[in-house]
């Protein structure tokens, strides 16, 4: 908080002791509302991801897959499974960041790199289909398509 704002708040609180209680209540209400909004947003993304995960065909047994639009400029592919040999948990998370001049990709939190043209095209196709099905099935907007198509996003899969 800026020092001048802090000083102004202190002055107000000193001159009107009840204002501190009022301010605390306002901040608490705003904080609760923000948490509630964030919870609703997460629930919507979870519902979207259920559809997103099915855009790439059948999920292998024992795998858990998510594919969703995190925010206007970020898309996430996440897959978890247990290794057949030692049972260890495997995680593959790809984060795509959309920039004006292309798309950046980070795998499992590693450094970002520009995606190749074919992967960018696949992501764009996936985003178009995701919007089409999510708009229809999560948000109730009309769509002519019934079945989810199958496609590959990443050649590694």
């Amino acid at each position: 908080m800026l020092p001048t704002v802090q000083q102004a708040l202190k002055k107000i609180i000193r001159s009107q002791p009840n204002s501190a209680t009022w301010a605390a209540k306002v901040f608490q209400t705003a904080s609760k509302k923000n948490k509630l909004t964030e919870a609703k947003r997460k629930e919507l993304i979870r519902l979207e991801s259920e559809i997103g995960s099915k855009l790439f065909g059948q999920i292998p047994a024992g795998h858990r897959r998510e594919f969703f639009c995190l925010d206007a400029r970020t898309w996430v592919w996440h897959e978890e499974w247990s290794d057949n040999l030692d049972g260890s948990k495997k995680i593959h998370t790809v984060r795509y960041e959309v920039r004006d001049n292309g798309i950046l990709k980070s795998v499992n939190g590693q450094d970002y790199a520009w995606v190749a043209a074919d992967e960018a095209e696949n992501l764009a196709h996936a985003a178009v289909l995701y919007h089409q099905y999510v708009a229809s099935q999560v948000y109730g907007q009309s769509s002519n398509e019934e079945e989810l198509p199958k496609m590959a996003l990443n050649k590694e899969y």
């Binding site: 206007a72 898309w75 001049n101 043209a117 985003a127 089409q132």
Partner: protein
């Protein structure tokens, strides 16, 4: 929004960004409705 996918990185990024914006708008609308 067109379903046609173009090939330059800038155009692909624009397509995906437009979709991201559209999805954000849908979310905001629903959150405001049930708010």
């Amino acid at each position: 929004m067109s379903n046609e996918i173009t090939t330059s990185p800038e155009q692909l990024a624009t397509v995906i960004a437009d979709i991201g914006d559209a999805l954000e708008n849908l979310r905001i609308k629903v959150i405001q409705q049930i708010g």
